[in-house]
Symmetry: C2
Subunit: 423 residues, 2 copies
């Protein structure tokens, strides 16, 4: 049987070369259709969603029970572990291959199991057990440091020694398409004597990738590089919405809180670690050499193109305001997970780890408006007469990401959010 | 029917005057007994646990289904809302009254429903949806500030304007009695050139109360004082274990992470807000006056005595190292919850909010070893030749708390944890 990552594989379903969902991808999500059935697990293939519950009901999987795919979240499937993830992906690949007749020639099953993407609603793909956000792009941390502390003290002394992170809020992680209400909070501009309470005036996005943890770890025990890698089920694109003015006033000494907990958006499709395997590469050279527990024997970064579009409220279409790549991250997702568990923290199925804002070395590769507008001093011109330093009500922000194969793309689709005014 | 808080109420079960569990309390927990049945919901009364599932099976509750009490967590019961919480408590009070024959004279039901406390194992009382930790004792924040920044800059400028808090880690909240493995992490004492990785050398406790949120709030919507109050199901004692040396090196700029996520211990009994009602009082005067969204029309603090015992490894019994009171908190639990939701953060059934370390105005009222030993400069003498600045392997830390009524105590029992050496 050919490997599911084989670039030569074709499906009996037509897939355009720039589609994010060729047979080499097979990302998992949770969808509902017009049939009135409850949300359940599906896989994206071209312009269709493959209904895994229908296939399981029809006894097309040896190992996975239909109930696992009838769940409105990926957690029960993820809990089955990496061997089942790989064998299930191989089986789905086989069922979709152009030269495999089992599903291709079974019109009845095909009609039940393949739902046009235009007919589905996509839901949160998994229940977020815990959400942790890191800060692992050296370019981003440096940009922010230069802005607020000057060039000479841009990076904090600890930054090069560990993946700095903090606990986020799981209850407000939402799926792409969910509108984001402008947060309110305490604001104290440097010119004000005392703080006031009101709508955030410096609302921003942060372009990140999110790791979806699919296996638990034991409280009190550390992880090796290999163990951490094998716990990673897949990745999503993540928008860590940020209220810069709320953050500025609240964050000393315990870190960001209200500035971040109002919303975090993720893409609806979880692209598996297996599907990203062909796109692995080494990250930037780490100097100083990390402490032994953080050292890596293998390439744990990915060549993954990312772009950010912004449609300001008066515009009809989004324009690109950033093009960057996940490969620039200084600390890899595996290092983040190893560090997270190093003190004995138990990881759970459904944990989500944000990479931190992904900025590249060039000016047009910055992953937040804070950096793009250089703290509001250089507003970006989106169209004739339309400028933005931060997000305004009605603005829509969209992120896209994909790995470019030879003639195909392993993509994430998009994560979109539109800003609603304070009620 | 008499009010369940009536000081004159007596149960047909004998309850000692210094017991934490008189008929005026009726705290909820999750227990298992020698009968081999799965963990389920019970109420503490004197030296017994009242098995609510047995009572529900016997049709003793009108509103609550047996399945709710058969759950291994309080979340389904909490989800029923404050009216059911109050009516259920009133019904349990009635069933336990000395002058109500229904349970008292039904020997068969009594034998099934009353389990001696010595025969039960107590479990985590609820599934923690999200854990947030505040920093709301002015005395604690001042002590820490004086130690690290000097007397003149002890309180950060934002501290008097809002309840400062940060997201904690829900996956490592454990019940009293769970041993705590000494965490490892990156350490960089001021004398070291570079960090090293190893066991924490400055392991500490923090005496806190925890609010158990029993009702959800809507993402994007603020809460009034009254709405926030009614979402609070009850309280636990909470030990926010802290690795001071890990925290010192990692916490700038995103706050504590590995220093806190390795373990948080809570008491097994959730004392309801209803039971604490007679002990409400006004907290300290707030100056400057809080912003309108944080203003309080009613007393939201509690007169709740707390004590901390430490049994160092070579000792047979714990000695008290702190006696303080929850009433000293500058920001109340209601203000914390209002602030938490103010930016639009959705609250969930099972959210846990730590109050922050509870220190009082006097030296013997400090809620952490960091303060008691003044950052290690004044070790506390526990017994002849036994001194402690921070916790050592084998040490056992126990916290107790209660409200003193006229002839009875509404108590929390205890939260205990013993330090295990790094493996």
């Amino acid at each position: 049987m050919p490997h599911p990552n084989d670039p030569k594989l074709r499906s009996f379903i037509d897939v355009a070369p720039d589609s994010h969902f060729p047979i080499q991808n097979l990302p998992y999500g949770v969808f509902s259709a017009k049939d009135g059935l409850a949300p359940r697990v599906g896989v994206a293939i071209g312009d269709y969603v493959l209904d895994l519950w229908q296939l399981a009901q029809d006894c097309r999987f040896d190992v996975v029970e239909p109930a696992v795919f009838a769940a409105p979240q990926l957690n029960p499937f993820m809990a089955l572990g990496p061997k089942v993830w790989s064998s299930t992906r191989a089986r789905i690949s086989e069922l979709l291959r152009h030269d495999h007749p089992e599903l291709r020639d079974n019109e009845n099953l095909r009609k039940r199991a393949l739902v046009p993407m235009t007919d589905v609603k996509l839901h949160m793909p998994f229940a977020v057990s815990g959400y942790t956000d890191f800060y692992s792009s050296k370019e981003h941390a440096t940009n922010v440091g230069v802005m607020f502390r000057g060039k000479d003290n841009a990076l904090q002394p600890n930054w090069l020694h560990m993946p700095i992170g903090y606990n986020g809020r799981a209850s407000t992680v939402v799926v792409s398409g969910t509108p984001v209400r402008r947060p309110r909070g305490q604001l104290k501009p440097p010119t004000a004597e005392v703080p006031s309470f009101g709508p955030c005036k410096r609302l921003d996005f942060e372009l990140e990738m999110g790791v979806v943890v699919g296996q638990p770890s034991v409280m009190g025990e550390m992880l090796t590089e290999k163990q951490a890698e094998e716990m990673i089920f897949g990745f999503v694109i993540l928008n860590d919405w940020s209220a810069r003015d709320i953050q500025q006033w609240e964050y000393v000494p315990l870190g960001p809180f209200q500035a971040k907990v109002f919303a975090t958006s993720i893409s609806p499709w979880v692209v598996t670690r297996d599907a990203l395997e062909p796109f692995r590469l080494h990250g930037p050279r780490q100097d100083p050499k990390p402490l032994p527990y953080l050292q890596q024997a293998q390439p744990n970064n990915y060549d993954l193109s990312l772009e950010v579009g912004l449609r300001a409220a008066p515009m009809n279409e989004a324009v690109n305001i950033s093009r960057t790549n996940f490969k620039y991250m200084y600390w890899s997702s595996v290092q983040q997970l190893v560090h997270h568990a190093a003190c004995g923290c138990a990881m759970n199925v459904g944990d989500l780890l944000g990479s931190g804002t992904i900025s590249g070395p060039k000016k047009d590769q910055r992953g937040s408006l804070l950096e793009i507008s250089w703290n509001g001093t250089e507003p970006v011109e989106l169209a004739e007469g339309v400028k933005r330093s931060f997000l305004e009500d009605g603005d829509s922000l969209v992120m896209r990401g994909w790995c470019q194969g030879n003639g195909y793309r392993v993509g994430f689709g998009e994560v979109e959010g539109t800003i609603l005014a304070v009620e």
